[in-house]
């Protein structure tokens, strides 16, 4: 069973033998997501035996909404920033405390921390009623010891602590701060939600593993997700993209569009694989280290408000309600498509009526106005697709090999899902010069994507044979290695540790498709002698499906 609790609708599907057995859709109750879950599973599981379920995957807006709507807890932050960016550029909230100490790029402790100072901050948190604490050090993924020490010192003063180095294995201190902060800020609301979901599933007699979808389109066992709620932000758009992936078979470059009411999400598949954000996703202005699918969202959708400014049509970015044909207050692209006869939904006369004032401004007929709006809507989406592909191709690379390779993207197909998929797909395909495909169950692509997504994980290894240490970024482990340690050894450890991590997160052995995404080795030379090797390996279970739908 796959469930996507979206902003407008909550969708659910039941899949049997990789075929859609049942679909359900209810309006999301924003104030009570549990209620939406209850109703949608009611629909779906009626007349079903819950014992026959193999797994349940849930994609939810709980974390995203908590952040966007500010339903977060106060978090006390302790930052070990050392020299570099000025603290004024790093202050994420009112409760930020910068303490002395420094770990350098090699993970060597250059300046220690003062435990008494940390204790005093802890006491202050306690006095101020701050229960949640984020601890982040610069380069802490290279040596987490200072973060751990601070936690030990402060543990008695606060209820829960998030450590920066556990968030992700990538370098980026400001993002590590933001990610740790958000993780702690939404923890309470998220863990409560998880508890309620588990109760609900219990009441429904569901006793199989339950997973939560993450921003990278992968899953995590719900019981394991409580320590990293921030991973579940923006899982909705990822669900749709994974859904599209499950319903198509191409290994070509492709563009995937989810045209919603307010926005259109654009994803690019390179050789059939959805791309990930280089560093992490951005939510509500916060740049994070959360691994996520690379999805560009533009403020153009079926319900975008259409205005006329100085005789020119402006589409979006705001949505002021449904299309006029459905009783909405303003004309929208959907109204234009209704007038043009591209779709037969809603009340045509109302759509026409809404376009009339616009056509007067434009000094043309209602039909011509509709045509202009439709064309312009498609053009906006198509040009955003081209911009996105250009941005992907122009991503910086750091080796001569990659510069010379200079891979182009040549989309061979355009996949479209979402409310306006049918009326717009053909024209978009013409504009982008490729055939279009609207998957059969496009309206529940998100729930299908959730149902079939596999568990994903990443593992970052840095071996430094001069120091004789190997650091596992995400886990905070540091182990001793011999001088003759090789790149092959590092790859072996990365794969093994990744396997362990993925299994712990709920992956099944048979779904573990591990790939090495980064694999570099540098001779370290001091004076005129080679003193060691600096080996960097990153491995991942890439976003993918446990299986594709049968068609």
């Amino acid at each position: 069973m796959g469930i996507d609790v979206g902003g407008t609708h909550t969708d659910a599907v039941l899949i049997e033998d990789l075929r859609i057995k049942k679909k359900a859709k209810v309006i999301t109750n924003e104030r009570d997501l549990l209620d939406s879950l209850w109703r949608v599973t009611d629909d779906l599981l009626r007349e079903e035996n819950p014992e026959r379920l193999e797994r349940v995957v849930l994609s939810t807006t709980i974390s995203t909404n908590a952040i966007v709507q500010g339903k977060t807890d106060r978090v006390g932050m302790i930052l070990v920033s050392g020299p570099g960016l000025s603290p004024s550029l790093l202050r994420i909230n009112e409760d930020c405390h910068f303490i002395p100490g420094y770990v350098n790029h090699r993970g060597m402790e250059i300046a220690g921390i003062d435990r008494d100072n940390v204790s005093r901050i802890g006491e202050r948190f306690q006095r101020d009623g701050i229960d949640h604490c984020g601890i982040v050090g610069k380069f802490s993924i290279r040596n987490p010891q200072q973060e751990i020490e601070i936690r030990e010192t402060i543990a008695t003063h606060v209820r829960h602590v998030s450590l920066g180095h556990r968030m992700a294995g990538r370098l980026n201190f400001p993002r590590r701060i933001a990610t740790t902060f958000l993780n702690e800020a939404i923890r309470e609301i998220y863990t409560n939600f998880v508890k309620q979901v588990l109760d609900l599933m219990h009441l429904r007699n569901v006793s199989v593993p339950i997973y939560i979808l993450k921003a990278d389109g992968g899953t995590i066992d719900i019981a394991q997700s409580g320590e990293f709620p921030v991973q579940t932000i923006l899982s909705g758009p990822a669900a749709s993209i994974m859904g599209i992936l499950s319903m198509v078979e191409s290994r070509d470059d492709a563009i995937a569009l989810d045209i919603g009411g307010t926005t259109t999400d654009i994803a690019v598949f390179a050789g059939g694989v959805p791309l990930l954000e280089a560093v992490g996703v951005t939510i509500f202005g916060h740049k994070t280290l959360v691994r996520g699918l690379r999805i560009r969202s533009i403020g153009v959708g079926g319900d975008s408000r259409v205005r006329c400014e100085d005789g020119r049509i402006v589409i979006g970015p705001e949505r002021e309600g449904p299309a006029a044909a459905f009783g909405g207050p303003f004309p929208t692209p959907t109204d234009a498509m209704i007038v043009l006869g591209l779709t037969s939904i809603g009340e045509r006369e109302r759509a026409k009526g809404a376009l009339l004032p616009l056509s007067r401004h434009m000094q043309c007929s209602v039909l011509e106005a509709a045509k202009t709006i439709f064309e312009q809507t498609c053009e906006k989406i198509a040009s955003a697709c081209l911009d996105e592909m250009e941005a992907i191709v122009n991503r910086p690379v750091y080796t001569i090999h990659e510069i010379l390779e200079d891979r182009r993207l040549e989309p061979k197909i355009l996949y479209v899902v979402g409310g306006s998929a049918r009326p717009m797909a053909f024209r978009l395909g013409e504009m982008l010069g490729c055939p279009v495909y609207i998957p059969e169950h496009a309206e529940v692509a998100n729930a299908i994507g959730a149902a079939l997504a596999r568990t994903t994980a990443e593992m970052t290894i840095l071996a430094d044979t001069e120091q004789g240490t190997l650091t596992i970024g995400e886990e905070g482990d540091r182990i001793v290695i011999p001088p003759q340690f090789t790149r092959e050894d590092a790859i072996g450890i990365a794969k093994e540790k990744l396997r362990e991590r993925a299994i712990k997160m709920g992956a099944k052995e048979e779904d573990l498709e591990i790939e090495v995404t980064e694999d570099q080795e540098f001779n370290m030379v001091r004076g005129f002698y080679t003193t060691g090797k600096n080996i960097r390996v990153r491995a991942q279970v890439k976003p993918g499906l446990i299986a594709s739908l049968r068609t």
């Binding site: 050392g82 020299p83 570099g84 960016l85 000025s86 603290p87 004024s88 550029l89 420094y102 350098n104 790029h105 090699r106 250059i110 300046a111 610069k138 380069f139 990538r170 370098l171 980026n172 201190f173 400001p174 993002r175 560093v279 740049k287 122009n394 991503r395 910086p396 690379v397 750091y398 080796t399 001569i400 090999h401 510069i403 010379l404 570099q520 540098f522 001779n523 370290m524 030379v525 004076g527 005129f528 002698y529 080679t530 600096n534």
Partner: protein
């Protein structure tokens, strides 16, 4: 510290798969820790810092600047085209006003590469700044350009290329040539007959620190720039003046580099040398990037920074002050020197030995310049090396006068292959490159 934010383009190309040799200072590891620091500080997330992928320079871009012997492909590798391409990308972004300034944090470097190239000198094969400058002139029209070379080594390659160009001001500030490679860069090197004063050398004594560098900046470089009125200021941003650099002996700091860049405000900065890859480069580069973007760099310093151990002596301070005064006086007298030095001769000749230390090639060059008041003057170079290959090159300058052009074309036509293995014509104005 509140400053006006500027949009800065960053072309970061560490060439993680290129080295001169595995243990050479110019090896894969060189920008590894700089990358770590730049990534960890999150610099690429600032709206005012935009990263661009380097383009590839072409052989044509190289031929606009150099005479490569026997031909361009034999003296360069792809890495040089990427590094020069990175500098060109930086220039493009600035010229198209996509950004206010740009930093090409690329390798391999180029400021020791002279006009004639037979191999690598001082880790450099082609001069990436000069390739960039001539690209700008070709695509955006003639520009007055000032290149301020803050690498610890004398920028002898850049000086050689622009020796006769009155529209390119080359200022090099470096550790005294009596104590460091390449052993040149003294006051008396002041530019060719038609470009006197367009080459300025500022040798500084070993152990000069921030104080000395900034004194020279404020009392010599900035005033000269004020008078030269360049359209573009370029910083050849070598980082080997750092107190921790293993192959030099100066006491400049990350904070000093940031201050220098802030005050100099170059349109384009291009990385040159700098081999303290762990203790200096990460911090110096973060400082330069922040300064260029107008962001607060006051907290940038090396973890082992100790102002007392690297303070320059009073003796050095006095020396630097005297030096500054002398150089500025020399600059002011540049007009008078022309008469005194050149008089009424029609041609000025200089002989110079060139040693390609990386490749172990010795070359003898004879450069002849036509004295001209209307343009930079026609230049011809005859050169022979211990590897064989006698060559002759005719260089018609940009914005050349009709007389220099006519003479140049005549010489190229008349010079036969009997005496030389190759004869080259480089017409910088019309962007023509011929070989026979």
């Amino acid at each position: 510290m509140l400053k006006k934010e500027r949009k800065t383009g960053l072309i970061f190309f560490p060439a993680f798969d290129w080295a001169i040799s595995p243990t050479h200072p110019e090896r894969e590891e060189r920008l590894l820790y700089t990358q770590d620091q730049v990534f960890e500080e999150g610099l690429l997330d600032f709206d005012s810092i935009i990263e661009f992928k380097p383009g590839l320079a072409t052989v044509g871009d190289v031929n606009r600047v150099h005479i490569c012997v026997p031909d361009t492909r034999s003296v360069i590798t792809e890495s040089h085209l990427v590094s020069a391409g990175g500098a060109i990308t930086a220039a493009e972004k600035v010229m198209k006003r996509e950004v206010d300034n740009a930093f090409a944090l690329v390798r391999p470097p180029g400021h020791h590469a002279m006009l004639v190239v037979r191999g690598a000198r001082g880790f450099c094969n082609v001069n990436i700044e000069a390739i960039m400058v001539e690209y700008i002139r070709k695509h955006y029209g003639p520009r007055r350009v000032a290149i301020v070379d803050t690498d610890c080594h004398h920028g002898d390659g850049t000086q050689d290329i622009y020796w006769n160009d009155p529209n390119t001001l080359c200022i090099s500030i470096h550790q005294d040539g009596r104590t460091l490679y390449p052993g040149t860069g003294f006051h008396r090197e002041f530019g060719g007959p038609n470009a006197l004063g367009a080459t300025i050398n500022i040798p500084l004594p070993p152990r000069t620190s921030d104080e000395g560098f900034l004194y020279i900046l404020d009392h010599v470089i900035l005033p000269i720039l004020d008078e030269f009125k360049p359209d573009l200021v370029i910083n050849s941003a070598g980082q080997d003046n750092h107190y921790s650099d293993p192959i030099t002996d100066m006491c400049f700091t990350a904070q000093g580099y940031a201050l220098l860049n802030d005050r100099l405000s170059p349109h384009i900065a291009v990385l040159e040398g700098g081999y303290s890859i762990e203790k200096a480069l990460p911090y110096v580069n973060v400082g330069i990037i922040l300064a260029m973007a107008g962001l607060d760099y006051s907290n940038v310093r090396e973890p082992d920074y100790d102002p007392l151990t690297i303070r320059q002596s009073d003796e050095i301070s006095r020396y630097v002050e005297k030096e500054a005064a002398e150089i500025y006086t020399l600059w002011e007298k540049r007009g008078l020197m022309r008469e005194k030095l050149i008089g009424n001769v029609e041609y000025v000749r200089r002989k110079k030995p060139v040693y390609y230390d990386t490749d172990g090639i010795s070359e003898q060059q004879e450069e002849t310049v036509r004295v001209c008041t209307d343009c930079g003057g026609l230049v011809t170079i005859a050169s022979a090396a211990d590897t064989g290959n006698r060559i002759f090159a005719v260089i018609i300058p940009g914005q050349s006068c009709p007389a220099c052009r006519a003479k140049g074309e005549e010489i190229y036509t008349e010079t036969g292959k009997d005496k030389y293995n190759y004869v080259y014509l480089q017409d910088r104005e019309r962007d023509i490159f011929l070989v026979k």
